[in-house]
């Protein structure tokens, strides 16, 4: 899992039938802010939230509770705070 | 599967119960006869030692090869290499 910030969302009408009904968010990793990824959302995250993402197909299936979905990156939690070394980062 | 040479050992007292009794070794990967990076692997043969040439299986199959439930391993030594032949030709497609 990695920590990322939700920086936007994606709206799509034409997509794989298995993706219908899922929210797609754009994320940037906190240790790699220039990189962008599109993630499924299993934690009701909003733009600006710091989130936990899993980057594994099997874990995405479990997080979304859908064994059929073909997903790679999925948001599975909203982070309250994290510490790195002695610094505490409050995410609210 | 990948090939390597056993280069060292890892010792842990506190570990996941599924890993108990399984040696953990440091393996120097060998790619096309050349030494590459170091990885940590579970020894499914339970008899590899320093300097042995081995082949390893990665990913979920590494936990499957240990044939018991709950073995969190993603790289495992599965056999020893007696002889290794690789022909490399420049004009191969």
């Amino acid at each position: 899992m990695r920590i990322a910030r939700v920086v936007g969302n994606v709206v799509s009408t034409v997509k794989d039938a298995g993706f219908v009904g899922y929210k797609l968010m754009i994320i940037s990793y906190i240790d790699e802010p220039q990189k962008r990824d599109i993630a499924f959302d299993a934690a009701d995250a909003g733009v600006g939230d710091i989130v936990l993402v899993v980057a594994d197909g099997g874990a995405s299936n479990i997080a979304l509770g859908d064994s059929e979905i073909i997903a790679d990156v999925t948001i599975c939690g909203v982070v309250d705070n994290y510490t790195l070394g002695k610094t505490i980062y409050d995410c609210h | 599967m990948i090939t390597g040479e056993v280069a060292g050992t890892v010792v842990c007292t506190v570990k996941s119960s599924g890993l108990s009794g399984i040696p953990l070794l440091v393996v120097r990967l060998i790619e096309s006869g050349k030494k590459a990076g170091l990885v940590v692997a579970a020894d499914a043969t339970r008899q590899a030692g320093l300097g042995d040439f081995v082949f390893l299986i990665t990913s979920k199959e590494a936990s499957a090869i240990l044939r018991k439930p709950y073995v969190p391993a993603d790289c495992a030594i599965v056999g020893f290499i007696d002889r290794y032949n690789e022909e490399i030709q420049e004009d191969w497609p």
Binding site: R2, A42, V78 | G8, C12, T13, K60, Y70, D74
Partner: protein
């Protein structure tokens, strides 16, 4: 498997119910040649009660769900061991008691 250093902690209350009760730690992989931290900052599920500053072993991918605590959970990285010592060749490259004395 990857040798990692625990560099931080993560607290999340609003997560999928399948992740509740799990202790999350921030880890970074250690290069076994240079003993320097490398690669991305990863969030790993702690199954062995590790602490910040400790050197641990993590597994990634679907193997990370092969523990009693993480089975069928949305997890892609787990801490499965706390390292006592590592020998490469005839050299001891890491010793937990030495590391504890330094800090």
């Amino acid at each position: 498997m990857q040798i990692c250093k625990v560099v931080g902690t993560v607290v999340s209350t609003n997560k999928t119910e399948k992740l509740s009760g799990m202790k999350l730690l921030l880890v970074r992989a250690i290069d076994l040649e240079t003993w320097e931290e490398k690669g991305p900052l990863l969030v790993s599920v702690d199954t062995v009660s590790a602490g910040v500053g400790e050197v641990v072993m993590t597994v990634g991918g679907s193997s990370s769900r092969q523990t009693e605590a993480t089975e069928a959970k949305p997890v892609d990285n787990s801490i499965v061991a706390i390292i006592d010592h590592i020998d490469v060749g005839s050299k001891r490259v890491f010793d937990r008691t030495d590391a504890e004395n330094k800090t």
